[in-house]
């Protein structure tokens, strides 16, 4: 029993440390997103913020001991991809959806 309790306590501590770590990373990325001299810098920062949020969501799922949040982690992944592609396309071409040339 003692081992189990210790394991659980350890898990909690590790999770908290990780959350703090991810958060620090988020703050630094936020600095990039705000400061970022060019828009591509900001886009990359947002993308990375999203990945960090995925991590954060996963850590919170462990912290709250639930499996209901896994959907969210996956969804963040998909949406982030779409969002980043859209931003990239916008930054490169100025439009997201190209009109047919017929």
């Amino acid at each position: 029993m003692e081992t189990l309790e210790m394991t659980q306590a350890l898990l909690e501590i590790v999770t908290e440390i990780c959350i703090v770590g991810v958060s620090i990373s988020l703050f630094i990325l936020l600095y990039r997103a705000i400061k970022g001299p060019t828009n591509p810098d900001r886009a990359v920062a947002l993308d990375t913020i999203g990945i960090n949020l995925m991590g954060l969501a996963g850590l919170i799922a462990i912290y709250l001991v639930t499996t209901k949040l896994n959907d969210i982690i996956l969804l963040i992944g998909i949406l982030l991809f779409i969002g980043t592609v859209a931003i990239a396309k916008f930054l490169e071409k100025g439009v997201i959806i190209e009109r047919d040339m017929d």
């Binding site: 908290e16 959350i19 703090v20 958060s23 988020l26 703050f27 936020l30 997103a33 705000i34 970022g36 828009n39 900001r42 886009a43 920062a45 947002l46 913020i49 999203g50 949020l53 954060l56 969501a57 850590l59 919170i60 799922a61 912290y63 709250l64 639930t66 209901k68 949040l69 959907d71 969210i72 969804l75 963040i76 949406l79 982030l80 779409i82 969002g83 859209a86 931003i87 916008f90 930054l91 100025g94 439009v95 997201i96 959806i97």
Partner: protein, 776 residues
């Protein structure tokens, strides 16, 4: 009686169908029998053994609003005047208005007016009275603006409408107060409850409102200004409305409510004071006019002032004299207006400076005018009815009772003012008749060659002048059987007066002689003192006040509107937010609604703190960034942070939705980006920035306060436990959020779907329509 009131209205509806015969027969011939039959109906009621008739017809019984008709002596007098002079005016108008005019309109308005006026004098129910009252204002507006292609007509119509409706609304206020105080809508039962009214706290208001209504309608000082401008109406209208009927509605009102109004010690001062001022001012101003109808308009004002002041004396005898003068004035003023119309019709002008020497051309008209004006001036001749009532006026002005204070001063001044007003009445009457029909004939200045009017046009004024003479010769013909009932209806006492031409050598006779003597002197020396009008009134005129008021109101309101309706959305949002802040804060302060209690709060955990810190930083950064894309991206950070907060608070469904919406929003922003202008630093003043900051900070603070307060004050248990318990058993699902959305409160979801559908359609429509426009 109901038929008598509504017959003109019903017939007015039928007039348009008469247009078939329009070219052959003058519409007026069809109208003529209506007032005449009403007149016959009413004249049959005249007699010594007259007793009031009361009838009631349901209209809105649940609100106690009914067509209660009450025919007493006063109503009968007015009813006879309205229908009798109405008949004559219709007859006159047949010859006055040409068939090419819009006769249908004219007679519809006229019949409407006639019905309204009969309704006013017969109504016993205050609301029915008020309805008819407004209908008279309205139909008078239509009649004044009959020749609506003239700007003068439109101005006059608007002016009379504004002033009389202003008075009408104040009358409504007075009547409502009366209803509240007495708990009845019948005028007769109100009069029975006069002690209740007198002791009620609203008594002063009732007096003020009713007086305002009566004085505006009857063109009393200083509301007389609409009447001269109403002379733009066709002459039959002026003769009918603005001499005999509508302007007497205010007098009727004062007479009808006299038992209530005279309870106040101010009654004498207000009614007689205003009346005597109106008398003097009207007659003084009439001398100045150059337009025949202008003179008659001011003369009407002054005569109405005289009747009003006699009512104000309040003694039974004076009331009888007032009633007598109502009748007399209707006869001679009606005939004079018709004479003025004839002169206008046959010479093409009403300007007295261009007229003169018409006696040989129009002998009959001149004779009629002579009788009318002499009666109006009160020249002591035994066959003129105006003399009797003027003599009575002088007599009773000397017999005022003992008063105190202002009232005593007024009572002393009234005889002198009465003589003064009468002198000017004499002056303008003589000026009117001799200026038009004597003097030199100015051939070049007249647009047409004058000739005698057709006989049809002369019939009505001849009948009225015969009325003058008959009443003058045999005053007792109308006295006992008719006027006495009217006076009794007003005062509630029987007052049968003996009208006689010769009283012996008494003061009123000397007053009359003084009027004639001084008047003659003034007429002869008129050119010498005419310049007094440059000093009094000079530039002082209530028309200027009216114009100034109308102009100022328009300009002032447009200025006010312009201060806040600037078209700047920023200002509107500021105003809305300030209003919300003020409303909420003042409500919190008034109800002492702040409820801050920290006992029920959850513990703050580290992840929450970090996420919130990130969001706060990002939102502040959004405000200060100058790059639009950067702003969108940083706002995206806030959105993602919010979804993580949802995660933290165990709301996976919300988090999912929030994420998708956030991404779609960012993508949509990027879609429309091309079309947006560059976000630039706007050069705003320090004050404006400070203002915005203050508003946003206080709004945020207020909402925080409200949120905390409402969280702390829990009135009852939430119903969420029910959902948690029954989600599986009733809804068949373990996802409680979704069960609520589609099962327990599915209706909300349905309409949110509808909202999305409408939004999508709207966007589609906007884009498509714009494309089409571009293609064109």
């Amino acid at each position: 009686m109901l038929i008598a009131v509504f017959l003109p209205l019903i017939f007015a509806c039928l007039i348009p169908f008469l247009s078939k015969w329009k070219q052959k027969v003058h519409t007026g011939w069809f109208v003529l029998p209506i007032p005449f039959s009403i007149f016959l109906f009413l004249i049959l009621k005249v007699g010594k053994q007259f007793s009031p008739i009361s009838q009631s017809y349901n209209w809105i019984p649940s609100l106690d609003i009914n067509f209660d008709l009450y025919l007493d002596g006063l109503g009968l007098l007015f009813g006879l005047l309205i229908s009798g002079i109405g008949t004559l005016v219709v007859l006159y108008s047949i010859y006055y208005l040409h068939k090419t005019e819009q006769l249908g309109h004219f007679y519809v308005y006229l019949l409407m007016f006639m019905a309204a006026m009969l309704g006013v004098v017969f109504s016993d129910n205050v609301y029915a009275l008020y309805s008819f009252w407004e209908l008279t204002s309205f139909s008078s507006f239509l009649l004044i603006g009959y020749w609506n292609h003239r700007s003068g007509s439109r101005y006059g119509a608007l002016k009379s409408m504004l002033i009389t409706v202003f008075g009408g609304l104040s009358l409504l206020a007075g009547l409502i107060l009366l209803t509240i105080v007495t708990d009845t809508t019948s005028i007769q039962s109100m009069i029975d409850q006069k002690d209740t009214i007198m002791n009620s706290p609203y008594f002063g208001w009732i007096l003020g409102f009713v007086f305002l209504g009566a004085f505006t309608k009857s063109a009393q000082f200083p509301f007389h200004i609409w009447l001269p401008d109403a002379m733009e109406a066709p002459t039959p209208v002026s003769a009918y409305l603005h001499s005999a009927t509508m302007v007497k509605a205010g007098i009727f009102l004062v007479a009808r409510f006299l038992p209530i109004l005279s309870l106040s010690e101010w009654f004498f001062v207000v009614v007689s004071g205003i009346g005597i001022i109106t008398l003097c001012w009207g007659s003084f101003m009439a001398v100045r006019q150059t337009d025949l109808k202008g003179i008659l308009a001011f003369s009407t004002i002054s005569q109405l002032g005289m009747i009003m002041s006699m009512l104000g004396f309040g003694t039974d005898a004076a009331i009888f004299a007032a009633v007598f003068h109502i009748l007399n004035h209707a006869t001679f003023k009606g005939s004079l207006f018709m004479v003025a119309g004839i002169v206008d019709h046959e010479t093409g002008t009403r300007d007295i400076r261009k007229l003169g020497g018409l006696m040989t051309f129009m002998p009959i008209t001149a004779t009629l005018a002579l009788f009318g004006t002499f009666s109006m001036a009160g020249v002591p001749l035994p066959f003129l009815n105006g003399f009797y009532s003027k003599e009575m006026f002088f007599k009773y002005s000397l017999e005022l009772g003992e008063y105190s204070g202002i009232a005593q001063g007024l009572a002393t001044a009234i005889p002198f003012l009465a003589v003064l007003g009468s002198i000017f009445t004499f002056v303008y009457s003589m000026y009117l008749v001799f200026g038009t029909f004597r003097g030199e004939y100015k051939k070049e200045e007249l647009p047409q060659k004058p000739h005698e009017a057709p006989i049809g046009m002369l019939i009505s004024p001849i009948i009225l002048v015969i009325g003058i003479i008959v009443i003058g010769l045999f005053p007792h013909l109308v006295n006992g059987s008719f006027l006495a009932h009217a006076a009794e209806a007003i005062s509630g006492h029987e007052s049968h007066k003996h009208i006689s031409f010769w009283h012996g050598f008494v003061t009123p006779l000397f007053m009359s002689l003084a009027v004639v003597g001084l008047g003659t002197l003034l007429v002869l020396t008129r050119k010498r003192w005419n310049s007094i009008y440059n000093v009094i009134p000079g530039k002082l005129s209530f028309n200027r006040v009216y114009d100034w008021l109308v102009d100022r109101t328009e300009r002032f309101s447009s200025k006010i509107t312009k201060t806040y309706m600037t078209g700047s959305l920023k200002l509107y949002v500021q105003l809305i937010l300030i209003a919300i802040i003020f409303g909420t804060i003042s409500m919190i302060v008034i109800t002492n609604g702040i409820n801050l209690d920290a006992t029920d709060l959850a513990k703050i955990r580290l992840p929450e703190l970090l996420v919130v810190g990130m969001m706060v930083l990002a939102s502040i950064a959004t405000i200060f960034t100058n790059n639009r894309i950067a702003a969108i991206l940083i706002l995206g950070v806030v959105g993602y942070g919010l979804s993580i907060l949802f995660v933290l608070y165990r709301a996976p469904d919300l988090a999912l939705t929030q994420l998708i919406i956030e991404t779609v929003t960012v993508a949509l922003f990027l879609l429309v980006f091309m079309h947006l202008p560059k976000l630039e630093k706007r050069n705003e003043s320090k004050g404006s920035i400070f203002m915005n900051a203050a508003i946003s900070i206080s709004f945020g603070g207020m909402m925080t306060l409200v949120g905390i307060s409402s969280y702390t004050s829990k009135w009852f248990d939430p119903i969420s436990d029910y959902f948690l318990e029954t989600s599986k058993s009733l809804g068949g699902g373990s996802n409680v959020v979704n069960v609520i959305l589609v099962d327990m409160r599915g209706l909300d979801t349905l309409f949110e779907i509808a909202v999305l559908g409408i939004a999508a359609l709207g966007i589609y429509g906007m884009i498509k329509l714009r494309r089409k426009k571009e293609a064109k």
